[in-house]
């Protein structure tokens, strides 16, 4: 991926995530983590916060795949974690990456996951096009 195509991919992902947040009002923040565990798109402007969020997300993605292997499965396709402060939702992408979102505690999580699964195809397409260039 060249620097220019990387910027195009990042811009396209930002647009898709903005659309997802507009569609699903319960989403407070969302991000895309690549199969190589790079945070490709995030609502954080600060590099430090992005790095921290990316590292935590990568740890969680690896943990869920570990749970899959432990149970004799290939991978975790969806993870839903409810905490007192809100929910964290992960949907797996084609190349092993993750589309992630956080919501408040009273969010309609089923609907958010439905919107995330619908958005997944668009994110996969952008990432595949980015890899071709």
């Amino acid at each position: 991926m060249t620097e220019q195509s990387g910027a195009e991919t990042s811009g396209a992902l930002d647009r898709v995530l903005t659309e997802l947040r507009a569609l699903s009002e319960d989403i407070e923040s969302c991000a895309v983590l690549s199969g190589d565990r790079d945070l490709l798109s995030s609502s954080h402007a600060s590099a430090v916060d992005r790095e921290r969020a990316g590292a935590l997300l990568a740890a969680l993605a690896d943990l869920s795949n570990g749970a899959a292997r432990e149970g004799g499965k290939d991978y975790a396709s969806q993870v839903r974690i409810g905490t007192e402060a809100g929910h964290l939702l992960l949907v797996r992408l084609d190349g092993g990456g993750v589309l992630a979102a956080t919501t408040g505690p009273d969010a309609r999580v089923g609907l958010v996951l439905y919107d995330m699964r619908n958005t997944r195809g668009e994110v996969d397409r952008i990432l595949a096009e980015g890899n071709e260039q």
Binding site: S43, L60, K73, Y75, A76, R80, G82, A100, T102
Partner: protein, 69 residues
């Protein structure tokens, strides 16, 4: 009537005692957080946050929810 009331109070005290002992033996923490994982074959696994594995997921998730993505 008085005798029946006394028996009811005694019964309530015993039930409360049993509940307290059970809660204490379970570690005293209720599973307020939950983890649900759906795998590639469609099967699902749920982890309660009062288990070691569930706690690991919940701790990371709580940090992410707090700082946002």
């Amino acid at each position: 009537m008085k005798k029946l009331l006394r028996r009811l109070v005694l019964l309530g005290a015993i039930a409360g005692g049993i509940y307290a002992v059970r809660s204490y033996l379970r570690g005293g923490t209720a599973a307020t957080e939950s983890v649900q994982i759906v795998f590639d074959d469609g099967s699902t696994r749920s982890l309660a946050s009062n288990t070691a594995e569930g706690r690991e997921f919940a701790d990371i998730a709580r940090s992410i929810v707090e700082i946002g993505l």
